[in-house]
């Protein structure tokens, strides 16, 4: 059965190309794309849910040879990240590729298919007292493939590193239908190129992740979180540096900032009861004259809360991920204040001790937000970066990524080697890749 002619795909695919595509898998795995499937405003034509890697690779190859553009999708929770695609014809959904292939708990590794949601995976790992030591956004929905493709790390990064440090193997489907694995399922392995790192954060522009292998960490037995209210962000930044420069073994350290409010510093410890008591004592002395109060784990969801709806629904807002050096957090706040005040833009931020932060800008009008984003990027680049993750309707388009510097030509060459026809997510990545 051919799709209805009314479908509004952007590609040049002929009816016969779609016919060929639809011989892959069963009828139930194909459906017409609806308005809910638009990718940043572009309406694709069909959605395919492969049952296995071979079907996924076959569909990808077939679309590639027909010149159709493909958008890989997990749950779609971060579908608006990146630039809008220049074309989108076929959505390759990993919804049915959701098996946990092997939890080798005694070896502290797990192999999992890309479509498995993070919460499902973590629940399974928890049965053996383990976890992937990363806390991404919307774990109930977000899939392993989507989290990897967007390089979405949270508060645990300061202790355990990012996804790049936790992924040890990957299998990807390339547009020519190749299924290629690299890395492996042992933590220590230097055979061949480290393609798991290349694919992490590539926003699905090099290949479609079909499965990944991660190293695991034991779940902590006891966790305590403390919060300190600081007089201003200069003090908050000093405390962050003091904690980082101390012998504390914290597993979380973040600053919560809101224009017009006292900044708050959250710090998390885990370990034995004896160790926790001793560390709390060290923190108490370190933080003077500020005093700590014990908080619940909710504070670590502050980043996710930034993405929530506005209190007043008519306000425009944008959310960015910014990266600065840990020592520059206060200076960055000064810049934020200086650029947003004249524009009547308010802001709220959650910045990790690693220097990675998330900022939400809000204003009654969309245009000042656009100006604030531009000004922010101009001040942080080079050396730091501002990646625009979300813009509410009405805010004029702005490049999501910013400048990749003199490494960009090389990135383009990597793209040309793996996806020469620009089939995967065309236009969504850095520099129009």
């Amino acid at each position: 059965m051919t799709p209805p002619l009314s479908a509004t795909g952007t590609g040049t695919g002929t009816a016969s190309a779609w016919d060929e595509l639809r011989t892959i898998g069963s009828e139930a795995q194909w459906r017409d794309a609806g308005p809910e499937d638009t990718v940043a405003g572009i309406q694709p034509r069909m959605v395919f849910e492969p049952q296995n890697e071979a079907e996924l690779a076959a569909a990808l190859r077939c679309a590639d040879s027909a010149g159709l553009a493909v958008t890989p999708r997990g749950s779609g929770s971060k579908d608006a990240w990146g630039n809008p695609p220049t074309r989108a014809d076929l959505i390759l959904s990993t919804a049915r590729l959701n098996r946990i292939i092997e939890h080798a708990w005694a070896d502290l590794t797990v192999s999992v298919e890309a479509g498995c949601t993070f919460a499902t995976l973590q629940n399974a790992l928890a049965q053996h007292g383990q976890r992937i030591a990363v806390d991404p956004l919307w774990p109930e929905h977000a899939t392993v493939g989507g989290i990897l493709s967007t390089n979405d790390s949270g508060t645990l990064r300061i202790r355990y590193g990012g996804l790049r440090d936790l992924i040890i193997g990957v299998t990807i489907a390339l547009p020519d239908g190749t299924l290629a694995s690299s890395g492996g399922k042992v933590v220590k392995n230097v055979a061949g190129y480290d393609l798991p790192k290349l694919i992490t954060g590539a926003l699905g522009t090099l290949g479609v992740i079909t499965r990944a292998v991660f190293r695991l960490h034991p779940l902590p037995h006891n966790i305590r979180t403390f919060t300190l209210a600081e007089r201003d962000w200069a003090n908050a930044n000093q405390l962050v540096l003091a904690v980082q420069g101390s012998k504390l073994a914290h597993t979380g350290l973040q600053v919560r900032l809101k224009s017009g409010e006292q900044p708050k510093v959250d710090i998390r410890f885990d370990g034995t009861e004896a160790g926790l008591a001793a560390q709390s004592e060290v923190l108490r002395k370190l933080a003077l004259p500020a005093t700590e109060t014990e908080s619940n784990a909710e504070v670590w969801h502050a980043r996710q809360r930034l993405f929530g709806p506005s209190a007043q629904s008519d306000r425009a807002f944008a959310i960015v991920k910014c990266s600065v050096l840990p020592g520059s957090i206060a200076a960055t706040c000064d810049q934020l204040r200086d650029l947003s005040e004249p524009l009547n833009v308010s802001w709220e931020a959650v910045v990790q001790g690693t220097g990675l932060g998330y900022i939400r800008f809000e204003a009654s009008q969309p245009l000042p937000i656009h100006q604030a984003l531009q000004a922010m990027r101009a001040r942080l680049e080079p050396g730091g970066s501002v990646v625009v993750l979300h813009r509410s309707p009405g805010i004029p388009e702005i490049d999501a990524w910013g400048d990749a510097g003199d490494a960009f030509p090389l990135m383009l060459k990597v793209k040309e080697q793996l996806d020469p026809k620009k089939t995967l997510n065309p236009g969504r990545f850095v520099g129009g890749i």
Partner: protein, 482 residues
């Protein structure tokens, strides 16, 4: 080599930066893997990024292959020269350019020695975590090329975890800055691809490192077991109890004897020695070391010592780090092998290695990074006995095959280099290698950077890759595509 090219090189580096005499070139004909030797046409010793760039441009124009070399301590032939090529040594680029303590970053040139990084920041309570056994002589540039590991990467991660940014000279002579001091620079993580690429993607000329705050205390526990099997059970139980020690190392009796003979580390004479290092806040470590002690006793440890002073710890580690070289005291010749297995396969593999050794009449000493399943079997032989060298090579290769069959890797930290490139097609299927080669083509379409290494066969950039073929292990039903 064409004298006009040599003249160009001389104009770049000056007389003192160019080696062409046969006598001096001999120093560079091999690296730490001495059974492969190739004489380079010339060795260049640039002293700046600009000089590296100028040299590489000449190579690119004239089609001359080049091999970058740090201290030449690599164990897989990564710095082995290639025929009709030049060696570019980074030995003169040995400055620490920046120390940024508040942000825990350092920027160094590639020729800086690993241990010098830690020495520079130790007075401020920091250290550089990757600590290969050769750390007093190996260079950071070489560490980057090989993604060097070390005993403490169990907890702290490998070189790749600690390299945040790179300035590289690409094989066409252009310069690119990958990553940077701040995390998550926009674009592909090419830093992650470059680290561990064994000199096949270009030459790193500046390296931004992450340094780590030294923990409040470090305790090292030595436990003597009757066998490595018992010691292995203790390792599993420690991991099972939810602990992540800074290091867990194991040695068998032959390795202990060798280390004792060489450095008198005061190790107990036993069948399997386990070394567990815990670090962190004092209260935490003291609680955990008791747990480790109890686990070791339960698993049959008959003697347990805890090294608490720096001097005691240093001696314990000296023995471990000297183990490879020490084996020379008990055998005229030996092969250092480097393979990885899932930790749980350890008892099975130990039995199998012992059986194969007995069958072949060859002794194998074992040193492992037990926490992450990285084995270093030392295959001992005597070249003077006819057939023994060959038998040792066969055994060493067989051990790697066992690692692959167990779902592991042919190298955990020494690299593929020249030595193991033929093993790559046993570990990876053709499409896997093709995909890596495409990445190589993006960096080095003319295949001039360490061209004969890592991959079993060269691939012309622009070739159409073949179609998917099932992996030999899949066909045999041994492994699912992992």
């Amino acid at each position: 080599m064409d004298p006009r090219i040599l003249a160009e090189f001389r104009a770049i580096t000056g007389d003192r930066g160019l080696i062409t005499s046969h006598e001096q070139l001999k120093t560079y004909e091999c690296d730490g893997l001495t059974n492969f030797r190739v004489m380079p046409d010339a060795v260049l010793l640039p002293s700046s990024t600009e000089q590296v760039q100028a040299i590489v441009r000449v190579c690119h124009r004239a089609g001359i292959p080049f091999v970058a070399r740090g201290s030449g301590t690599g164990l897989s032939g990564g710095a082995l020269p290639v025929k009709d090529g030049v060696v570019i040594s980074t030995a003169k680029m040995s400055s620490i350019l920046e120390v940024d303590l508040p942000n825990a970053r350092m920027v160094v040139e590639p020729g800086v020695i690993n241990l010098e990084v830690t020495e520079r920041v130790a007075p401020h309570g920091f250290f550089y975590a990757p600590d290969p056994s050769s750390q007093s002589v190996c260079s950071i540039g070489g560490n980057v090329a090989e993604n060097a590991g070390g005993a403490h990467c169990l907890k702290y991660g490998f070189t790749t975890t600690h390299v945040l940014g790179l300035e590289v000279v690409l094989p066409d002579g252009s310069i690119a800055h990958l990553g940077g001091k701040a995390l998550d620079a926009p674009g592909y993580d090419l830093t992650g691809v470059f680290v561990g690429s064994e000199g096949t993607l270009g030459i790193a000329t500046k390296i931004t490192l992450r340094i780590v705050k030294r923990p409040e205390c470090i305790h090292t526990l030595l436990a003597a077991f009757g066998s490595t099997i018992e010691a292995g059970a203790a390792v599993s139980d420690i991991i099972g109890a939810g602990m992540l020690p800074a290091a867990m190392e194991m040695m068998d009796n032959l390795a202990i004897q060798a280390a004792e003979a060489a450095v008198h580390a005061n190790y107990p004479n036993c069948g399997g020695l386990l070394l567990v290092e815990l670090d962190g806040p004092i209260a935490e470590v003291e609680a955990l070391i008791q747990q480790v002690d109890a686990i070791c006793r339960k698993c049959g440890a008959n003697e347990i010592k805890v090294a608490q002073t720096d001097a005691e710890r240093a001696l314990v580690w000296k023995g471990r780090k000297a183990a490879f070289a020490a084996v020379g005291r008990i055998s005229p010749n030996y092969i250092v092998q480097d393979g990885v297995i899932p930790r749980t396969a350890l008892p099975r593999l130990m039995n199998e290695i012992a059986r194969l050794g007995t069958e072949a009449g060859i002794r194998v000493a074992n040193v492992f990074h037990a926490g992450d399943g990285n084995l270093h079997p030392l295959v001992l032989y005597d070249r003077r006995i006819e057939g023994q060298e060959h038998a040792a090579e066969v055994l060493a290769n067989r051990i790697l095959e066992l690692c692959i069959e167990a779902g592991g890797s042919i190298t955990g930290e020494h690299g593929v280099g020249e030595e193991k490139k033929m093993m790559m097609s046993k570990m990876f299927a053709e499409p896997d290698l093709e995909t890596m080669q495409r990445v190589r083509c993006a960096f080095d379409p003319k295949q001039l950077a360490n061209p004969t290494k890592v991959f079993p066969r060269p691939r012309l950039c622009g070739e159409v890759p073949g179609k998917y073929e099932p992996h030999p292990l899949e066909v045999a039903g041994i492994a699912e595509r992992f």
